[in-house]
Subunit: 232 residues, 3 copies
């Protein structure tokens, strides 16, 4: 149903009401007002209504595969009336073809990274995992580069809190960040933790959190559905 | 339609997409990152997509009836696409059975405390009243313990402002807090005031605000409906 | 469908779930808690679920036409589940009839100022233009009084960013403000810029941004529709 665009800035669209864009040479005054580093004129943009974790994981793959950097990650309060975030990720490159390639890689990754997003009317689970965190996870959460890294988020926030507790008790993982409606989120109705450690431990913790979360979300009346295909 | 859960943390569900949970012994590192007082290991959780005032009033009753304390009250921007908050209330106890009992009491109170929440497509009124404020109202708004206390909220915010003015002019009550989209809310589209004073005065003020609010909300095209049964 | 109200504070309703209200003499304690200047007792209120730019432009016309001042402009995170703001604008006057007249003017302007708001399921464009900025635009964005002024906003935020870049490159305009999900908005999923300059240049920039924005929003799958009739 989506129509191609003749706009040169257009790269593509993806799940989560995501659009990928590039600007070859950002206007000087706009660039300055945005507070971007002067050395980057070409930017790639990944912008979505739904999802933040999956986009950060996709951006991680994009910077691994291309000659780009992650310069800003912002998370609006969105999800189209749901309880979570959307995302606005800006990548930078010296050459616009690198920025475009990075956005293409990210858009392609989203089908996979949305696999452990489960949604129902009462809330959602959003689970993300990578065996090797890269610059997007570092920028957004301070993830240690090259180490296994997981993001565990759920709404309503109370479910996210029980999932966080379960994750921490399941395996020997280190808690990197804790966010809740009052601090660290854009007032979403979520508890979000990020964890690092050995890849098996992180994966096991994320899976245990997912099982508890799915079971609790079901008590609220519906069966949460994966938006694509579980990958963790 | 709601399914029971085998998860030991599960307590129950209630109106407003509310879930009640307990954690018997919060993970040490999570506990620390949350900034909770070290003496509390057992917590009770009341988490909802819709409503904050009704949950705070319900938590007031829960702490009156049990050996628990209110340790944090956070209000996400939620209402499932509506104009207001949701809630995340954490109670603490030395013993998990106290935390569980407190959550049960709160869940049971919600049918009553949702009685003066009126909703229509254009907005809502959320009125709350107690003859004797307790620790949740104190934590959230600085309510004087043991005194009559009322919460008057409405969206769109302009209606809440006229209701606030009406409430103050109706009886001899004291204004405790004023919140608006830009300050004191999670950017909800509400004006929210809290008032204290003699119980008759507070009740009269809340009722007068409700009448004005219902009449104004009707001008926007629909008949606002109580979610359960008015109690004030 | 809207019912008239017998409440003296009621002025009228308009597009965008907007309600117009007045308070002849704001309660003393409420007035103080709101932090309003003591010399204003009469206030006019323009409150909406959807739209902020169109309301600020309408308030500009209201203060031009009446003896009133703009004292606060707040922007909740709203749009009824959409990606943007709502608005709460408070005007002040020494006499309530001036406040009422100002609100009436603003409500009447909204049909016009909503003309370049385009909405579809994936997002929106919100474009505003005036040949002569007045006190509301100054209050909200620091617009230079009496000069041409434009507001360019879109969701998802990435589309707003490309529109901003296009606007700046189209004509010789000055960038007044830049806002994004993380700063300058109430965590909306928008990039919003405001521009000033010669009236032809500002108009041309807004139009160029609109064309790019409409084309990009279409790639997400639907045809964005003007809520009334384009005026820029």
């Amino acid at each position: 149903m989506n129509t191609p665009s003749k706009i040169t800035e257009f790269v593509g669209t993806a799940i989560g009401d995501t659009i990928g864009l590039v600007i070859a040479n950002v206007d000087y005054f706009l660039h300055e007002k945005m507070g971007l580093d002067k050395k980057y004129r070409s930017i790639g943009i990944i912008s979505s209504r739904i999802g933040a974790g999956p986009h950060i994981m996709a951006a991680d793959e994009a910077v691994k595969a291309t000659n780009t950097e992650v310069i800003t990650i912002e998370m609006p309060r969105d999800t189209k009336g749901g309880a979570g975030h959307g995302s606005l990720i800006i990548l930078a490159a010296e050459d616009v073809s690198d920025a475009r390639r990075a956005v293409e890689v990210a858009l392609k990754e989203l089908d996979r990274t949305f696999g452990d997003v489960y949604v129902c009317d009462s809330g959602h689970l959003e689970l993300s995992y990578t065996a090797r965190a890269s610059l997007a996870s570092e920028k957004a959460f301070g993830a240690p580069l090259g180490k296994a890294f997981g993001i565990i988020a759920s709404a309503p926030a109370g479910i996210g809190l029980v999932m966080a507790d379960t994750a921490m008790k399941t395996a020997n993982v280190e808690l990197v960040t804790y966010a809740s409606p009052g601090a660290g989120t854009a007032h979403t109705n979520e508890v979000i933790i990020t964890i690092t450690g050995d890849s098996d431990a992180v994966r096991q913790s994320v899976i245990a959190a997912r099982e508890v979360g799915l079971s609790l979300l079901k008590t609220m009346g519906q069966e949460p559905q994966s938006l694509t295909k579980p990958y963790i």
